[in-house]
Structures are given as structure tokens and as C-alpha cells.
């Protein structure tokens, strides 16, 4: 187990190094430069490039970046003048992470419950009803459902605030919209996993032993259906913690989502690099944790 964990950590570090290198060079291949502006004289633009070390040869810039990265210096943003990229991530990541984790927690819980119920009532009206909502949840993008519920609950009924961040009421609508697609996907997946295990020999054995349907579901079907579900949780956690450009925009939430888009359009090199590395690190870490969890959930899986 320890050997396996160390090996996986080594691979994770190599992955992040490769990610850093590839992103750095791809980014600098993009045409244009971050300081091009018709209202700024070319002489000043050149000074700006020099100030941020962008006038140096690309390889030299790369090694300077790596050296700074190893000392924890992610640089300063080119758009948010004078702000450290570390501060920017520290400001916005907690908001996105909190919203994402709350949304994911309920999405997993509800999705799995719906999936179990759907499997239990296979080809009967509760199954059709739940599947109808699952398809709806996948088909309706957040940019459609978000403004609709915001208008209905915020403006028409005045039950929830239309925007903002900080109070529990302000979390409900964005968390719902963010988690909706996950609920739908989990319902379908859990249903499929549950149905796949119902035909297994150990279920027949359990039935022969006289276990009640609830006992069979809780002790055998659910436990054996969790392994494939677990595989999706790692990337899902990493993804929702990074924020959603659309949901954060719809509900005016000061999260990390918009920076992934804006940093690229404004060519804010330090911010793009840091966000990519940060996301990559979390994604790799989550996948590693999930891999290690496999052995805990299913002792038949040996991590050697």
C-alpha cells in the first residue's frame, strides 16, 4: 500500500511538471501580447513587457518561472496590477470550493438515492418519473435554469435573494443549479450500477438466505455499486471546487470560475499558469485519494 502510494505520488508530481511545461510553452505560442492597447504608447508597452520580464528569451522565462514556482512565488497578475496570483486564488478559491462542495454533497446524496429508488422500481412509474427528471436535469443547461429560478424565487416570490454571496439563503439557488446536472447523472449511473449487481450470484444467495429487500440493498447492492460511482467523484470534486463561470455569473458570486476564462482572454500569463497548475494539482490529488479509497470500499481490490 505504501509503495503504491509513493509510486502514485511520484507519477502525480511528474504529471504536474509536464502540465506546467506544456501550458507554459503553449501559452506563449498564442499570438498577441498582454499589453497591446491603442491608448498606451509603444514605448510604454515595451517598458511594461520589460517590467514583467516578458522581453526575455522564452527559455530564460521558463527557467525563471520554474525557479519561482519552487520557492512558492507564482508571480503577480498582469491584469490586476500589483496583486499576487497567490492572493487572487486565496480570495476566490474558498468561495468556489464552498459552493461546489455543498452542491456536490447534496447532488451525490440525492442522485444516489434517486438511483437506488429508480432501480428498485425498475420499469414502473417511479422509475419513469425519476428518469424523466434525470434527463431534464442533464438536458437543461445552467444558463437556462439559473435565470429562470432566479426570477421565479427571487423576483416573483421574493423568497430568496437574487444574487450575492455570504448568507445561507444566497447559497441555495446557485448550489441547486450547480448540482442539478450531477444529480441527474448520478441518478442514471447509480440506477445502472444497482441493476448490474442485482443479477449477481451473491444477491441470489442473500435472497436464498432470507434477507429482506432493504437488507439486500443496503448490505450488498449498494456497497457493490459504490466502486464505479467512486471513480467519478475525484474529478467531480476537483471540477466543482474550481468554480463555474456560468453559475457564478448568473448569481454574481465572487468565485474562481470567471478567472479561468478572463485570464486567457487578457493573456494574464501568471494567472493562467497558476490556475492550471492549481487545478491540475487538485485533480491529481483527488484521483490519487479515490484510487487509495478503492481498497477501503472494496477489499477485493489490492493496491500493489
Amino acid at each position: 500500500m505504501l509503495r503504491y502510494a509513493l509510486k502514485r505520488i511520484g507519477i502525480a508530481l511528474l504529471t504536474i511538471f509536464a502540465l506546467t511545461t506544456i501550458t507554459f510553452f503553449l501559452l506563449h505560442l498564442l499570438p498577441g501580447d498582454p499589453f497591446l492597447n491603442i491608448k498606451v504608447p509603444v514605448a510604454i508597452q515595451e517598458k511594461q513587457m520589460a517590467y514583467y520580464g516578458l522581453d526575455k528569451p522564452i527559455l530564460q522565462q521558463y527557467f525563471i518561472y520554474l525557479k519561482n514556482l519552487l520557492t512558492g512565488n507564482l508571480g503577480t497578475s498582469l491584469k490586476y496590477v500589483g496583486r499576487n496570483v497567490t492572493d487572487i486564488i486565496a480570495d476566490f478559491f474558498p468561495v468556489s470550493a464552498a459552493l461546489g462542495l455543498i452542491a456536490l454533497f447534496f447532488a451525490e446524496l440525492i442522485g444516489m438515492t434517486f438511483g437506488i429508488l429508480s432501480a428498485q422500481f425498475k420499469n414502473r412509474w417511479p422509475d419513469y418519473l425519476l428518469m424523466f427528471f434525470a434527463i431534464l436535469g442533464i438536458a437543461l443547461p445552467s444558463m437556462v435554469i439559473g435565470p429562470l429560478i432566479r426570477y421565479f424565487f427571487g423576483v416573483e416570490l421574493r423568497l430568496l435573494p437574487v444574487s450575492g454571496w455570504g448568507t445561507p439563503e444566497q447559497i441555495i439557488m446557485p448550489a441547486f443549479v450547480l448540482g442539478l446536472a450531477t444529480v441527474a447523472a448520478n441518478t442514471r449511473m447509480m440506477r445502472a450500477c444497482m441493476l448490474a449487481v442485482t443479477t449477481q450470484d451473491y444477491i441470489k444467495t442473500a435472497q436464498a438466505k432470507g434477507l429482506t429487500p432493504t437488507q439486500i440493498v443496503m448490505r450488498h447492492e449498494l456497497k457493490n455499486s459504490l466502486v464505479p460511482m467512486l471513480a467519478g467523484i475525484g474529478p467531480a470534486v476537483a471540477s466543482v471546487m474550481m468554480g463555474s463561470f456560468v453559475v457564478e455569473k448568473i448569481f454574481v458570486i465572487p468565485g474562481l470560475g470567471k478567472h479561468f476564462v478572463n485570464a486567457v482572454t487578457t493573456l494574464d500569463y501568471p494567472l493562467i499558469m497558476s490556475l492550471t497548475i492549481f487545478y491540475g494539482t487538485i485533480l491529481v490529488t483527488m484521483n490519487l485519494l479515490v484510487d487509495l479509497l478503492y481498497g477501503v470500499v472494496d477489499p477485493r481490490i489490492r493496491l500493489d
Binding site: G32, P34, V81, G82, F92, I250, V252
Partner: protein, 541 residues
């Protein structure tokens, strides 16, 4: 009896306290902003939402109120006969931390703005001072720059050029002073956070939750604090148009602005007030050099450009894809002043810019162009239309593309790009047409931030390739005269050349619509900063 007396006293005390609280009611508003400020350093703030906050927190030598230059930190000033030297006499005022603000602060701030090593984004504004550009380019010393403190409360400013615009230039937020000690301690981080900026203006920054909210409170140390009615201003960031409407309806915000009338009309219908202002021009810029030699041959021909202009139906554009804009029928926008009144009234222009398409005229100009070039319609190449990758820009170009094709049979391809890649193509002249905007100018179109200067080929490093020596001479005359009549006459001459020679295709004026709670009273509104929140008030109930 004693018990009743005690109750009576308690009630009286309560009423007094309540009355006291009512008297001290906090006057505050919340306004919606489409994006957050990126920097509150006057030398770096370059977007409207940063510039406005800098202007609420700070004050330069003079201030622009209702489009008039009024005293700011400078109480009064003397002007030399040639209009090149201004001697400002400063009032005894302080920073918001109570420390004195002196002429040395202004001298330092100008030097910092044009510091060649710092490469501040707004350094160009400092080029108005004598020798500033030479200093940036390394051919002059700091001691040569035309901004000197003669003593603590006297500042001498020498301008690079003479002209009526000099005093207007000093109202810009980039010339608001920064406190030396703090700026030197923080370096590039100055203006990046709540505790990293200090002002001397009507408001102080008390909270800046990035990408969320910015809270300003009245600065009791401001010299003119008596003129400031509001106690607190809260700006919410990243509010899109649709949600701004809902925030107004639910009372979350009290003021917001829109370009698209669809949103403002809905709110006005629900009882909110509205004020409109002309904003920058929308252009289809022409690269006369052409993206290729072949396209350049056509675009450098004046009759060909006239044909293009005649083919455009500006009214249709503003009614369909550019909603909220007004079709441009001449260069000078209708809100600009002339000598005694509105410029457009004093200088009527019959043969300006066509607002509807004139296919016959367009074809006549095209035939003339082909004759001059010795080419036929079959030789007309395909042109590229560059724009930012937004849906509005692409729609606008699709409309122009269709108009050129319908009226002249000219084919164009649209090249949408992310903003910095688009700018890369602009700077390398890798386009035939570029959909963009430019400012109407603080004083008028001749101002440094106005449109006309961009086509002055005597200035090095221009991004447009139009060249006309007569035009250049008129620009020099208009900018350097001290006679308002001469300036406006020259502006009119320039306008006629602009409309006739079509260095660029002016499409329309953007109109910004401010919608606000009906008890808000606006004061000090001007074209440079829009609605100036520093001077608003709430009507008494």
C-alpha cells in the same frame, strides 16, 4: 407618582434618542457595476470602473463638474500669456489620514506616473507636461519635467504645448496625487487593496472585497466635505444586464447603467428615472495599407472608401444589431459644445455622413475608384473584417458584410479574435476593416482622448494609416490655439475632411442609459465620468 414620572422620563428619553437616530440617518446608495476595478492606482487605473473609484477617492488640482473645470486642490491659478505655464495656488487640504497635502505631492505623483522603469499604463496622460515624453524615452532628466513645486502650496506646471485643452487635461483621474511614503513603501502593489491606497477626495475606501463589492464612505477630512451629501456608496461588481434589472426590482441596487434600451425601458416603465449620455463612437476602421498589397490598393483610394460609406445603412444598423446607438450623421456628437451653444447648432453640416444606404451613389464612387485604379469589379479582392469575438461585434460585422455585398458586390470574411490577439493584428496592420470604438474626447473631438488625433500622420507610431498633410496642419492649429472660436472653426474644417475623405467608417454613437431610484438627485454629471456619484443626493422625504 414617582413610578409614573420614571415612565414618563423613560419615554421622553426614548423619543429623544429615536429622534436623534432619525436625524442621523445614513444616506447611502448601492449601484451595480458590470465588472470590478482592476487597480485604484491613478497611474494604472485604465477602465471606467477603476477610473471612477479613483475619482471618488481623490482629487487633482482641478475637477470636472457638469463639464466645467472647477477648482479642486488648487484654489486658483495664474496663466502665462502663451498659455504654456500655469501657476497653481493650493488650498490647505489634507489626505484622508489627516496629513497635509502639498505641492510636492503633485510633483512626485507626476514623476511617478511617467517613471520609465515602472511602465505605468497611464503614462501617456503625463505627456502633457513639458519634456515628459523625452524623459520616458531617456532624452531628458527628471529635473527638466514641467511640474515643479515652488513651495509647499505653489505648483508650477509647464505644458508641452499650448492650447485650450490644458486645463481640461488636469481634471483627469490619472493626475490625482498619490502619497509618496505609501507609494514608495508599496511599490507596484499601491492601489491593489483596501489598505494599500490613500486618497484626498470626497470619499474613502473602507472595503474592497474583490470581484464582489467596493464600499466608500464620506471623507470628513475632504476640504469640500460640506458639498458631499452621501455617507456611503456601495458598488456591487460583475452584475450583468439581466440581473441588474432584477436587483433594481428587488431593491438590492439603486442605480445601474445599460447600453441596451431593452433593459432601461423596462425599469423606466416601472417608475425608475433615467438619464442618457453619449459615449464612445462605434467604428469600422479602415486599414489603408490593407492586410495585403491587393486590398491596400483599394482601401487607400478615397473614392473606394466613399463607396463603402455610402453602402452603409447606419439607421438599419442601429435599429437592429447596434440597438441603443444613434446613427452617426456627422463626426461631432450632438452633446458637444461649440462657442456659445451646441456645436451641431452653430456649425450645421448638410453633406455629412449618410444615415441610410445610397446604393446609386455607392456604385458611382466605386466606378470612379475602379477607373482611377485602372481595374475592373472582377479585380476587387476579398476583404477581412477583424473584431472582438463577442456576439454583438460579429453581428455588427455580418450586417456591414451584407451591406457591402448587396450595394457593391464586395465580399468580406469576418475574423473574430480574443481581445489581445485582435490587438496584435491591429498593431501589425493585419486587417482590412476593424470593428472598434474610440472616445468622443473630453473637451471635443480634438482632445487628446478624442478621435481626430488618431489620424494625424505627423505623429509617430499611429495605428491608423490615413495620411493628409492639410488634416495634420489643421489638427496642430486646433490643438494649439487659445481662441475658442478658432478651435471650433478648425474642428468644423476637420469634420468636413473626415466626412468627405472617410479615413474610417463611423457607424454610430453609443448611448449609455443610467437608471436610478426616483428619489436620487444627480449633480455634477459630466461626459468624462458619466454620473458622478460623488455629488449625488437623496431627495427629502
Amino acid at each position: 407618582m414617582k413610578r409614573y414620572l420614571a415612565i414618563l422620563l423613560a419615554v421622553t428619553l426614548l423619543l429623544t434618542l429615536t429622534a436623534g437616530f432619525a436625524g442621523a440617518q445614513v444616506k447611502e446608495i448601492t449601484w451595480a457595476r458590470s465588472y470590478d476595478s482592476t487597480s485604484l492606482d491613478p497611474a494604472e487605473a485604465s477602465d471606467d470602473n477603476s477610473i471612477n473609484i479613483v475619482a471618488y477617492m481623490g482629487e487633482g488640482l482641478v475637477r470636472l463638474v457638469d463639464n466645467e473645470v472647477v477648482p479642486g486642490v488648487a484654489e486658483n491659478w495664474d496663466v502665462s500669456g502663451d498659455g504654456m505655464t500655469y501657476t497653481f495656488h493650493l488650498r490647505r487640504s489634507t489626505w484622508s489620514d489627516g496629513t497635509p497635502l502639498t505641492a510636492y505631492d503633485f510633483e512626485y505623483s507626476v514623476l511617478r506616473l511617467i517613471d520609465p522603469d515602472a511602465g505605468h499604463a497611464q503614462a501617456l496622460t503625463g505627456y502633457i507636461f513639458k519634456n515628459a515624453q523625452a524623459y520616458v524615452e531617456g532624452t531628458a532628466e527628471a529635473a527638466d519635467i514641467g511640474c515643479k513645486a515652488l513651495d509647499e502650496y505653489t505648483l508650477e506646471v509647464q505644458f508641452e504645448n499650448t492650447g485650450l485643452e490644458n486645463l481640461y487635461s488636469l481634471t483627469k483621474s490619472m493626475l490625482i496625487p498619490v502619497k509618496r511614503e505609501l507609494a514608495e513603501e508599496l511599490g507596484a502593489a499601491y492601489g491593489s487593496d483596501t489598505d494599500k491606497v490613500l486618497g484626498n477626495g470626497p470619499f474613502v475606501l473602507v472595503e474592497w472585497a474583490h470581484e464582489d463589492r467596493i464600499v466608500l464612505e464620506k471623507n470628513p477630512a475632504y476640504w469640500n466635505a460640506g458639498a458631499i451629501a452621501m455617507d456611503r456608496l456601495t458598488g456591487l461588481a460583475n452584475v450583468a444586464n439581466d440581473i441588474a434589472v432584477e436587483m433594481m426590482q428587488t431593491g438590492v441596487v439603486d442605480l445601474c447603467s445599460f447600453s441596451d434600451p431593452m433593459y432601461s425601458e423596462q425599469l423606466v416603465g416601472e417608475g425608475f428615472s433615467e438619464i442618457t449620455m453619449n459615449n464612445p463612437y462605434q467604428f469600422l476602421h479602415i486599414n489603408e495599407l490593407g492586410a495585403t498589397e491587393e486590398t491596400g490598393k483599394f482601401l487607400s483610394n478615397t473614392n473606394f472608401r466613399r463607396a463603402l460609406s455610402s453602402a452603409l445603412d447606419r439607421t438599419a444598423l442601429t435599429l437592429s444589431v447596434l440597438q441603443g446607438r444613434e446613427p452617426a450623421y456627422r463626426l461631432v456628437d450632438p452633446s458637444k459644445t461649440g462657442v456659445n451653444g451646441k456645436f451641431v447648432d452653430e456649425y450645421p453640416l448638410d453633406d455629412g455622413i449618410n444615415v441610410t444606404a445610397d446604393a446609386q451613389k455607392a456604385q458611382t464612387y466605386l466606378n470612379l475608384a475602379l477607373e482611377e485604379l485602372g481595374l475592373t469589379a472582377d479585380d476587387i479582392p476579398v476583404f477581412t473584417m477583424l473584431c472582438y469575438e463577442s456576439p454583438t461585434s460579429q453581428l455588427a460585422l455580418q450586417a456591414c458584410q451584407d451591406m457591402f455585398l448587396t450595394a457593391l458586390g464586395i465580399q468580406c470574411v469576418i475574423d473574430p479574435q480574443p481581445v489581445q490577439q485582435m490587438m496584435g493584428k491591429v498593431f501589425s496592420f493585419d486587417y482590412d476593416f476593424w470593428y472598434g470604438g474610440l472616445g468622443t474626447g473630453q473637451m471635443d473631438e480634438l482632445s487628446d482622448d478624442g478621435i481626430l488625433g488618431y489620424f494625424d500622420s505627423s505623429v509617430e507610431g499611429q495605428i491608423f494609416s490615413y495620411a493628409n498633410p492639410t488634416y495634420n496642419e489643421l489638427i496642430a492649429t486646433g490643438k494649439t490655439t487659445l481662441d475658442l472660436q478658432v478651435r471650433k472653426d478648425t474642428l468644423f474644417e476637420l469634420e468636413k475632411i473626415f466626412c468627405d475623405e472617410v479615413p474610417t467608417l463611423l457607424l454610430g454613437w453609443t448611448t449609455l442609459r443610467y437608471v436610478y431610484r426616483s428619489d436620487i438627485v444627480l449633480h455634477g454629471t459630466n461626459s468624462a465620468y458619466g454620473v458622478d456619484l460623488a455629488f449625488i443626493d437623496l431627495a427629502a422625504e
